[in-house]
């Protein structure tokens, strides 16, 4: 196998692992917060329904977190196995957050074990809730640290290169690189948002499938409310991400927005297709790109004409951008209408159609996460470390990557199917109505 092939298969395997891992990782970061909120509301309102909600979410979480852990271990090792040259360089400069991530993960794993196995062991429910706090902190901190490493790949700093040697290394400066604030905030907030909408989809699905139990209505209202808050936050942070890109990675922004010529008063191109270098059927919003990039409708935005051909990312990332933004806006509107509808007692939000839209929102949110990560990673091409190391120079020289790709594909298939089967079986065999009866839970009240 020539090295071109090794590079190609390394890219495919990394993309496969990350695309699979990110589903479970996102749920893993977001769901502990949701469990915490539900348990807290349950304790405060003395409402058994919310406590049970937390407990049932925690059960499902056991499954998703396990797949997240094992695939996370896989990507952690694959970084060194597939990209040894990159990791040798990265190890010198950005090892600190990687190292911190293992501590965050340690912390989370320990307390998750304790939390899961100590239900009803304490007289005071609040003590049990306290055990969940390190889990939620550990999960979010893991996301923060690992995203810092990704931010570093986009905006490397904290060292100098002198005659091919790395000098003046400053690990903290490398961590707090310009890409870090927007990237970290965006990843964490969208994880909360996605977890909320996935759980909302499940609640809506139960309501559609015949159960009219107040338990599901409470779950739906809580998750949509939380989802709304975080989707608004995601939009605001997304706007700042645009400004970061304009300043530090203009080629990524320009490629994502099909902005070919450097110009002032730049319009934002939404949708459309590219036909022989010409944009067709697109919606052009005047001045919007200048506003996104610089807060100023007349500002100049750097276009792709400023970059050599071999340093421009593939232009299909525009479609990924469209998918991500469209779903984000759609979910914000959907949850806003739902929240208003519940306040105003609109019949419409209780309709079958609306509930199906909420159900659809779960997979859509996951799709948005995938599109966002593909945009982030493909948009950095051809670099693995922007401006310093190209992807093809970073890969392994081993000749067995294609075989490993087949093995890992099989593994992810087993894990994906296995987790879905186990999750559905777990909740089918023990429906909430049954469990509430078993627990004689009568303390539940109506929604606020």
């Amino acid at each position: 196998m020539g090295n071109e092939e090794a590079v190609f298969y390394s890219r495919v395997l990394t993309e496969l692992t990350l695309s699979f891992h990110i589903i479970y990782a996102t749920i893993g970061v977001g769901v502990p917060l949701m469990i915490m909120i539900a348990q807290w509301v349950g304790i405060r309102k003395n409402d058994e329904h919310y406590i049970l909600l937390a407990r049932r979410w925690a059960r499902g979480f056991v499954i998703t977190v396990a797949v997240g852990v094992v695939t996370g271990t896989a990507i952690g090792m694959q970084l060194s196995l597939l990209w040894p040259n990159f990791m040798e360089l990265a190890g010198n400069v950005i090892a600190l957050p990687l190292f911190l991530e293992t501590f965050a993960f340690f912390f989370e794993a320990i307390f998750l074990g304790i939390y899961l196995y100590t239900w009803d062991r304490f007289e005071n429910q609040k003590k049990h809730l306290l055990l969940l706090i390190p889990v939620a902190i550990g999960a979010s901190a893991s996301a923060v640290f690992i995203t810092i490493v990704n931010a570093f790949m986009n905006a490397p700093q904290g060292f100098d290169v002198l005659n091919g040697e790395l000098v003046n290394i400053n690990p903290l400066l490398a961590m707090f690189n310009p890409a870090m604030p927007t990237k970290v905030a965006h990843v964490v907030v969208t994880a909360y948002m996605t977890a909320a909408f996935v759980l909302a989809a499940i609640a809506a699905f139960r309501l559609l499938k015949g159960s009219n139990h107040i338990y599901h209505k409470k779950a739906l209202f809580l998750t949509m409310k939380v989802g709304l808050v975080f989707s608004i936050a995601a939009a605001i942070i997304g706007d700042f991400s645009g400004k970061y890109l304009a300043e530090y990675q203009p080629e990524k922004l320009a490629a994502a927005e099909w902005h070919f010529e450097t110009e002032e008063n730049a319009p934002l191109i939404l949708y459309g297709v590219l036909d022989n270098g010409e944009v067709k059927y697109a919606i052009k919003i005047p001045f919007a790109l200048s506003i996104l990039a610089h807060f100023n409708p007349t500002a100049e935005v750097i276009g792709l004409d400023q970059f050599p051909e071999d340093e421009i990312p593939p232009l299909y990332i525009h479609y990924l951008f469209d998918i991500m933004v469209t779903i984000g806006v759609w979910m914000t509107l959907l949850s806003l209408v739902y929240w208003l509808g519940v306040q105003m007692r609109w019949k419409m939000v209780q309709s079958k159609l609306f509930r199906w839209l909420i159900v659809l929102g779960g997979p859509l949110s996951i799709l948005a996460i995938e599109a966002g990560w593909w945009l982030a990673e493909v948009g950095r091409q051809p670099w693995i470390l922007r401006g310093l190391m190209r992807v093809e120079d970073a890969a392994t020289t081993s000749g067995h990557v294609d075989t490993m790709l087949i093995l890992f594909s099989g593994l992810y298939l087993v894990l994906g199917v296995g987790s879905i089967v186990v999750l559905t079986r777990m909740f089918r065999r023990n429906p909430v109505e049954q469990e509430l009866e078993d627990r004689h839970a009568t303390k539940g009240a109506d929604i606020s």
Partner: protein, 341 residues
């Protein structure tokens, strides 16, 4: 003490931690699968459910900590080991994934799926075999440089008696460590039947463990003279380890203080593991890589060590809490309490 030594000691300590906790985990899975075959499954299933399920993720982190840490402290290892270990490490990851998912899936889902239990049990034997190959490779002689990049000579590796001696040691050590621990755990749980069974397994695996360990010494004498000589310089450490070994076996034979017996076993492996590592120094990979020429820059080393100390301050109390709840809590161990979500 130089930064290099601190770094490698930290990593070696965590690897030792992984060796012990993972051996318990892997061995238990194997005994469980074996007892499924012989129709005695209920004896061990309980112990696995009660002890291993809450802590498997913690076990896993020990390994993650080691390989992330070694890239941090010794970035050049990524180049040498990353390139050459693609196949054995990938296989180990896949097997680890099967084991991890087993704990999660079996806790609620398809409990008692036999094929899965067998895979889980067998994976526990293949993982140490795959991972122990790293130790073999580190002795040198299996990696050659082709056009400036390292390449693993599989033929030499799989025809070397050293490789197989280390694989056999890793397997028998896993079963031995696990059996001694489970003897103690079952005894605490008041499960006489399980205690007797595990004690029997412990005594069975004690002998192959010590024989292969001695065999590796002999192999090393021809394979890596320098390492062998270094080990002979500290022969007394290996002697001490042997005495601890005899203590464990004696207590097991006499059916006395299983807790102390497990303590002696940890001591035996601790002394041998550190003596082996001490003699291996300064090489991470004979003859290409030493801890000195592969070490990271000073700024990063200091940052990592500070992070490590801060991390430990957080971890040790948490680990203590975990052990107190699942290992040292009599009611829990005896199965009187079940507070699972």
């Amino acid at each position: 003490m130089t930064l290099e030594i601190i770094g490698v000691t930290v990593l070696w300590t965590f690897l030792f931690g992984y060796l012990i906790v993972a051996s318990i985990d892997f061995g238990a899975g194997f005994f469980n699968a074996y007892s499924l075959l012989t129709g005695r499954q209920h004896i061990l299933t309980n112990v696995i459910q009660r002890y291993l399920s809450p802590v498997w993720e913690v076990t896993n982190v020990f390994l993650v900590f080691f390989f992330v840490g070694i890239i941090g402290f010794f970035p050049k290892t990524a180049f040498y080991y990353g390139t050459t270990l693609l196949v054995p490490a990938s296989i180990a990851i896949i097997l680890l994934a099967i084991r991890g998912s087993y704990y999660a899936f079996e806790t609620y889902g398809s409990r008692g799926h036999k094929g899965y239990s067998f895979m889980y049990g067998l994976a526990g034997l293949f993982i140490p075999a795959a991972l122990s190959i790293v130790l073999t490779i580190s002795e040198g002689g299996f990696i050659e440089m082709v056009d400036g990049s390292p390449s693993l000579d599989y033929y030499a590796l799989f025809t070397s008696p050293l490789t197989w001696a280390i694989v056999v040691l890793s397997l028998s050590a896993v079963l031995y460590i696990s059996a001694v621990f489970l003897t103690w755990y079952a005894n605490r749980a008041g499960d006489l039947e399980a205690t007797n069974l595990m004690r029997k397994y412990a005594l069975i695996w004690a002998l192959p463990t010590i024989i292969t360990a001695a065999g590796i010494m002999v192999e090393l004498r021809t394979h890596n003279q320098a390492h062998y000589n270094n080990m002979m310089d500290i022969w007394w450490a290996f002697g001490l380890s042997f005495l601890l070994y005899l203590g464990t076996v004696w207590l097991l034979v006499k059916r006395r203080s299983y807790g102390l017996s497990f303590g002696l076993l940890v001591g035996q492996f601790f002394v041998a593991f550190f003596a082996y590592g001490f003699a291996h120094r300064p090489y991470l990979l004979y003859p290409y890589l030493t801890i000195y020429d592969s070490f990271t820059n000073e700024a990063m080393a200091i940052a990592l060590i500070i992070a490590f100390i801060a991390g430990l301050a957080l971890l040790i109390p948490s680990l203590y809490l975990l052990l107190r709840l699942f290992l040292f809590n009599k009611d829990y161990v005896r199965g009187k309490k079940d507070n699972h979500a």
